[in-house]
Symmetry: C2
């Protein structure tokens, strides 16, 4: 598919200006741009600037508050609930993660559940904030319902990602960032654009039958929880997605399950919503709340080296450590630029025209 | 397969006596029996009295200390590391979970990593301890290496389960207890006994090729992480199993990865072990550290009822809430008794003879 290459700085400047024209204060606009484009850098193209127009449309629909009063509404020594005041999740999430980190400095760990937020980009950005403090970081969020629990024909959960980041010593950090579905929606979108079939176990049709039609979601089909079907453990993926939903939204007072507000601004809001906005959950654990940080990091290096040097299946170069592919992609794209599909470039141009900006 | 039925009380009395004859103090012997048989009650037969002879053999091999000095060796307001002193995990784990609960009472949450322990039965028993305090409970453990990470032919991880329990109001609690593999080893053992093939995606052979031979583990094969293969998300199951390993053992100072001590006493210990015993990780979060408990539980009821009443795939009665099947099994077996295969009964008889006990 045709594409153009842009430097990180080009995309950062453009995106920052868009957020500023929406009314975001300068520092928040820069932060939101940094979070958004961290997805493009790390190769998770579906969550990066390709979504910028979606955020703008949510703002136009008055579902995003450009000047939110983000605040703690409840707390204990190791916990807090944050109200995002309908702000961009791209700004609310780093605020909440910083609260978790500050709690962890004093209490050993910090756990923050967030209500009244919007989509927060990639979980990895937020969880990785913990690393520079020698802390383990965690981030999760619920999202628009696209996933059918095992045996359900209804879509009741989002792709509800979990990210866990763990500092190491000489080795790069361990960064596991995973949707609790067999495949992320972004991967399905790639197949849709290329008109290819999806593998078995990714999706079901509106009646809950296995399907390989990548367009099934448009006619009432659903993404499947990690595992795919009952025989392959889909009840486990469903349970993990459910835990993300409950930690993010039932703990905080956000909307959960089928009531999570949809990302596309043209989709009507669900009726009977039980909470405020969408929900996130963050955690930070000081490693020296368990054992000396140097000792921990030496053992993490040992763990990583042992796994990375494991004997591989024929044809595979090495066993990967979670985070390896994204870190390698980030190094390449920071140097060589970020390729954007023409459709995304056109979309960004349309956004730019609204505000008199050019990419 | 032929089987006999035993009442909970029969199995409890017998098991308690076995542990007492090993030298466990009476209260610890009773606790260990309760934890062990909770697996049989909940239908997780592979982790119940079928393993009693295995624990006895570990004690005979001097790998289990019947009179452990279980103690906290490091702590902060919300964390602790517990040294299990080579005790039965069945006793060490409830001790550590109680520490997590006590921490949570004061700090909002409590997180405990454990070194120098042994196998702890089912994760569900320990995590469910949090429920009576209106807390969310978490329990995980590493285990003998039987699982190959994505692209690896080597077995580097255990089936490393994660359990999350969440209190509700009028509805029964949410209890997700899952091995981070496509299928638990216990399910594979059932197929072995019946000489049936395994579904695709459960196991690989010694060269890392997909296999349906349920006996593959005896010739160098491995269980597969949840997802099965890369296309179906096995890198996610691998990442989750890795997180369990690191939280349980790298944080605590236990053995991790391929160095986790094997459960069968006849398997030699790995060389170059980097820690002590096997590791666990426990968490407790007061729900009222986030929002009022009554409010939380009303919303959990709403969550549970919405999911349970979802429209189902034809032929399926209802969408299950994690914990439903095990709770229903427990009610039945508490009333009607626990069926044991003849092979298990013979095994228990042999154990009984060592100590002059009869089942």
């Amino acid at each position: 598919m045709p594409e153009k290459i842009y430097s990180y700085q080009q995309l950062f400047n453009f995106t920052t200006q868009v957020f500023q024209h929406m009314g975001c204060p300068a520092t928040q606009a820069e932060l939101a741009a940094e979070v958004l484009i961290s997805a493009d850098l790390r190769g998770i193209d579906s969550h990066g600037v390709a979504r910028l127009s979606g955020y703008v449309r949510l703002w136009e629909a008055k579902r995003v508050n450009a000047k939110p009063n983000i605040r703690i509404i409840h707390e204990t020594p190791s916990t807090a609930v944050v109200d995002g005041d309908s702000g961009l999740g791209l700004v609310v999430a780093p605020f909440a993660m910083q609260v978790a980190i500050e709690k962890a400095k004093k209490a050993g760990t910090g756990w923050v559940s967030v209500q009244n937020s919007n989509h927060f980009g990639i979980a990895g950005y937020h969880a990785m904030m913990a690393l520079e403090y020698d802390m383990i970081g965690m981030a999760m969020t619920n999202a628009s319902p696209l996933v059918a629990p095992t045996f359900s024909t209804e879509r009741l959960l989002g792709t509800n990602p979990i990210c866990v980041t763990i500092p190491a010593g000489e080795e790069p950090a361990f960064v596991a960032d995973l949707a609790t579905t067999t495949a992320a929606n972004g991967k399905l979108e790639i197949l849709q654009r290329k008109n290819l079939e999806a593998p078995q176990g990714w999706i079901q049709d509106k009646d809950g039958h296995a399907s390989t039609n990548a367009h099934e979601l448009k006619t009432g089909g659903a993404l499947l929880p990690l595992g795919g079907d009952r025989e392959h453990g889909s009840h486990k993926g469903y349970a993990l997605g459910a835990v993300v939903d409950i930690f993010s939204a039932v703990l905080s007072g956000a909307n959960y399950g089928p009531w999570v507000p949809p990302f596309p601004a043209y989709v009507p809001m669900p009726t009977g919503m039980p909470g405020k906005g969408i929900g996130h959950f963050f955690g930070a654990m000081r490693v020296d709340a368990f054992r000396p940080a140097d000792e921990f990091k030496q053992h993490m290096d040992n763990w990583i080296r042992r796994f990375r040097s494991a004997k591989t299946v024929e044809g595979e170069e090495k066993v990967l450590i979670p985070g390896d592919p994204e870190r390698e992609m980030e190094a390449i794209r920071m140097q060589e630029g970020i390729p954007l599909l023409d459709a995304v470039v056109n979309d960004l141009s349309t956004v730019g025209e609204k505000f008199g900006l050019s990419l």
